[in-house]
Symmetry: C2
Subunit: 213 residues, 2 copies
């Protein structure tokens, strides 16, 4: 659920004028797709509806994307990218200061900020809700929007294992869920408030365990 960044290639190579027009259309399509999924919900969002709202032909959309799921996921990735305008494609990395607790807390605080950002809230919820009942879309959301972040957790936790800060027998893919899943559930299912203090607590509890040492 952390800020996902992805180096999405600009669609196609064009001469400057054409590129400007393309960029304008692409932006209009993203805006239309995000607005529609929030207003109408995922099932009622169609390529036709996105095209009409964006003021482009349906074929313009089909030239660049194969489905509404593709358009929406790319629109969402673009939204995440624009929220960190100074950041290049490689900028979203997991910090490694050598202190796993501090690094996890920093990343989770950034995730809290993102989840509270009203620009993300409605489209994120609309896509996540559909993913709950639509397994194929759900799996695409995981692969395209979540997995890149999860992989960064895995890499950082492996480094912490090498540094002796995480036990060697721990499976990082499962361990990362102590950081990601409680926050995701509070946000998705409205099971509790989210705050820096809360995510800091998750990190301390997970690293040190609930049982006495």
């Amino acid at each position: 659920m952390a800020a996902q960044k992805s180096a999405q290639p600009a669609p196609g190579k064009h001469a400057p004028d054409s590129a400007r027009r393309s960029e304008k259309s692409r932006r209009a399509i993203y805006d239309a797709a995000l607005a529609l999924v929030v207003e109408a919900g995922y099932p009622k969002t169609t390529i036709e509806g996105i095209a009409a709202r964006a003021g482009v032909g349906k074929q313009t959309i089909y030239r660049w994307w194969s489905s509404k799921a593709d358009v929406l996921m790319e629109a969402f990735l673009d939204l995440a990218e624009r929220s960190a305008p100074d950041a290049g494609p490689e900028s979203y990395t997991f910090p490694d200061t050598g202190d796993i607790a501090a690094d996890l807390k920093l990343v989770l605080r950034a995730t809290v900020d993102e989840l509270r950002d009203p620009r993300f809230e409605a489209p994120s919820r609309a896509l996540a809700a559909e993913g709950v009942v639509n397994e194929q879309l759900g799996r695409e959301l995981v692969a395209k929007l979540m997995q890149p972040s999860l992989d960064l957790y895995i890499t950082r936790l492996r480094a912490a294992q090498e540094a002796g800060q995480v036990r060697p027998e721990i499976d990082p893919r499962i361990a990362l869920e102590f950081f990601v899943s409680p926050l995701a559930q509070r946000w998705l299912q409205h099971t509790g408030p989210i705050s820096y203090e809360y995510t800091d607590t998750l990190v301390d509890y997970a690293l040190h365990g609930l049982a006495p040492r």
Copy 2:
């Protein structure tokens, strides 16, 4: 997400014949509500639609429930209750054998079984998905369907604190999320497979911590 049980009062007090008719109507209404929310989704499920499918008058539904959310949640609780036919209203309790690890593993294995039960899958997903985008419904789902289970975790973790098996400074409301949230996210968002081995691992990691002791 564990099996929730609730002592739902039978609707009203009636003479035997009337009670039999009422029980038959109530069952038909529950079945219709669950079937419709799966087929049409929550937004398109209406009291009128439930009444028509159940073969009862709209007023019959309004006599017993104030909203479609109420009907659905009660239908869902009833489904959970019927799945354990020998169990009385008090039967859903958290085991306390004195071994917190064993008790957590047992409860989570039962939750895995429930999440894999095809009777629960579709209606649970339909309600959960709507709760993601509909905060009011989401909060009702938490209060009526989830909170009773969460309270049992809290009580059991407090007993473990008294027994010296969980550190006294731990907040049980947060700690329980290490058991409940990873499993819920894998199930809701299709982020990974669920199994007994997986939930056993969650319990071991959470109790002993990720960091070396």
